[in-house]
Subunit: 408 residues, 2 copies
């Protein structure tokens, strides 16, 4: 049987163990929802205070230049690019994941001249909804298929295959390189949503020859609640890339104030309106937690934490009706382990009451996210301790299901 001492030994040998000190974490809480909202990196509050009091309050409009606000989208983009195998000038921060996916899927229709989009049924809802909205608007067609039917659905009518790299419910990783090849073999583009993989897996977009990608700033990237999202456009698509949300910051000369839109020459054409500067400064500061961190070590630790969790659940909770909902094999799994349970909602609520915080995904999944920058193997142990207590006391039994507004 695995012991707490075993877990502590793993932490002692962890090359990332010092990175946890870069975060402000509430005492006594075992936070296993960094895949939904990343923890607060130290220094962010101070940085925002300076941005508000000095840059906004004292600098006022001058801060667009003097404080470099105008360069935030590209500056943040370059920091994220290094975590996802992209060139600095292939990534820019803008808008939300949903809005950015609309840009990319629309661009794929335009660039291919085709009318069909393929997605995975059960993929993250906003991705599916955005594709539905785009199709309703343009007359394009969305084909939502089961994972094992994806390759067969790729035909020469398909403009793009749109997939979340790591499934939000199960944590299963899609083979980005293989599916990109399969799409491209039919003349389709690959569009990857990295929301559940950037900052936890060693994503390598260019090694996989990916075409387009989006991702979220507030999960493993620790950019703060609702942090802006990012767009990746592979260099080879830079010139043909055309998207319909042609706001002024995507213009070749935004400050010339001419009447006719002309797209900026590079990745800036993916921008639309004026960005939420305060949220973007928080994202930039939060990304600092990755400074000097080897993303391969992050990925290795994510696997180690998830493997440990599964081992402990097997060893200590096998009589309680849990089932691992995604891959047991760490090579096929992102930064989370999902457990199915008939009382998943109540179990999740009872754990939260005991300050071990996973999240619930309807109808029967409890997701345990292991953000490697600040989660220790000893935290995994403690989470299982509390889960054992919940099950022993049947503390889940009195939890009535209600749909809660917990943003993923």
């Amino acid at each position: 049987m695995t012991t707490l001492a075993d877990c502590e030994a793993l932490d002692a040998a962890d090359p990332l163990r010092a990175v946890r000190d870069r975060f402000e974490l509430p005492k006594g809480v075992v936070y296993l929802d960094g895949n939904s909202l990343g923890a607060l990196p130290k220094g962010v509050a101070e940085r925002l205070d300076r941005a508000i009091r000095e840059e906004w309050g004292q600098g006022l409009i001058r801060s667009w230049n003097k404080a470099g606000w105008i360069d935030l989208p590209a500056r943040c983009g370059a920091k994220i690019a290094r975590l996802i195998g992209a060139r600095d000038d292939e990534v820019i921060v803008a808008d939300s994941t949903s809005v950015d996916l609309f840009k990319l899927a629309s661009a794929a229709l335009t660039m291919t001249g085709r009318r069909v989009l393929v997605a995975e049924a059960g993929d993250f809802p906003t991705d599916l909804y955005i594709l539905q909205g785009l199709c309703a608007q343009t007359g394009a067609e969305l084909r939502m298929v089961a994972p094992d039917a994806i390759e067969a659905t790729l035909t020469d009518e398909v403009a793009a295959l749109v997939l979340t790299h790591v499934n939000y419910r199960t944590g299963e990783i899609h083979d980005m390189a293989a599916l990109t090849r399969a799409a491209q073999a039919k003349g389709a583009l690959s569009i990857w949503d990295l929301s559940h993989s950037a900052g936890v897996l060693d994503v390598d977009l260019n090694a996989a020859n990916a075409d387009l990608a989006v991702g979220c700033g507030y999960k493993y990237l620790n950019g703060g609640p609702g942090a802006p999202a990012y767009v990746f456009v592979a260099s080879r698509w830079r010139e043909p890339f055309t998207q319909p949300l042609t706001g002024w910051l995507g213009h070749a000369q935004p400050f010339a104030f001419v009447d006719a839109y002309e797209p900026a020459p590079g990745i800036h054409r993916a921008l639309c309106g004026t960005p939420p500067v305060l949220s973007m400064i928080a994202l930039e500061a939060g990304l600092g937690a990755f400074d000097g961190v080897d993303i391969h070590a992050v990925r290795a630790k994510a696997k180690s934490l998830g493997d440990l969790f599964i081992t402990l659940v097997d060893e200590r909770l096998c009589d309680h009706g849990f089932e691992v909902a995604g891959p047991r094999d760490g090579a096929r799994r992102g930064g989370q382990v999902s457990l199915r349970h008939p009382q998943a909602y109540g179990v999740c609520q009872a754990l939260i009451e005991r300050e071990a915080i996973p999240d619930f995904r309807a109808p029967d999944v409890v997701r345990f996210g292991f953000a490697p920058l600040y989660t220790r193997h000893a935290d995994v142990w403690e989470a299982v301790e509390r889960l054992c207590a919940v099950m022993a006391e049947k503390a889940f039994a009195d939890k009535r299901f209600q749909v809660r507004s917990q943003v993923t």
Copy 2:
């Protein structure tokens, strides 16, 4: 001749004079660019610090419910609604002005089944660019016409008339009620961009029978740099309203995680993805500066400040080649006075060096914005003093033009 004592007498009689104390303003600066970036309201820095350290840092994911993040878009929308003559449930905060205008213009095409959009040539660029992007995507047609040709361009092919209520360059106010009637007489919708009128004019959308509107949070609303924008959908359009950016927060049950999009019953269907919470909290806190303020008094003061500025320019600068670019009649003018000058760029830069801050709009306009909540008549006097000094010293002569990245 008008004297400083006259200006001070106007300030002494100003019913809004105490409101200035609600703002943090840099000493020695005469800030006349609140029409571009509103000043910092007191309390915003403290509110954000609490949001970061307590709500994000300690509350983590639980703060979506416990700290009410999930309700921010509707809560901020209701606060803005009261400033623009709308019902609380007709306004919601989301995304940027550009993204929101895309939603509304696309909705107008869908709801009318028509294919033509009419806009004003020379209107704020991002509005024109967004309409161009939408037309390129959907095959609709954009007709950009001079202001005096607008009514003649309204035909029964037109889906919507899209106008900025107050022109960003000249400050001229469009007659919202008359143009709305003219559009509706042809079966078209009116879409108003309130970016340069909300928070400075007594906008009354429902009195004008307006159909749809957008506006910016970071100008006269003082929401902070790049603050989120807002959408207005008149109650009668609530049910037919359909927009293509169908992100998960616009879903009827965003937390049910089903595959098929179903629009939320009310104004929430104008939402798309997860909002930038920190920027939205700053906007909410900033809107507090309007608490208890009579918007009619705000509008009256804007007129008074602008009238005073024109008088002082006439009295003291008539030999220096300035021309009032917009209406001299305060009833037809928003919160700014624009001066044309052959050396406009140099004049603007020289003024900024002297810490009187207007802004420049290519090719030859200096805009002086008079945000009534914190601008005094004595500030107008001081701005003209500094402008007189710039002209007497020909301080503008050595300023070489460069396109600056100053966000409007």
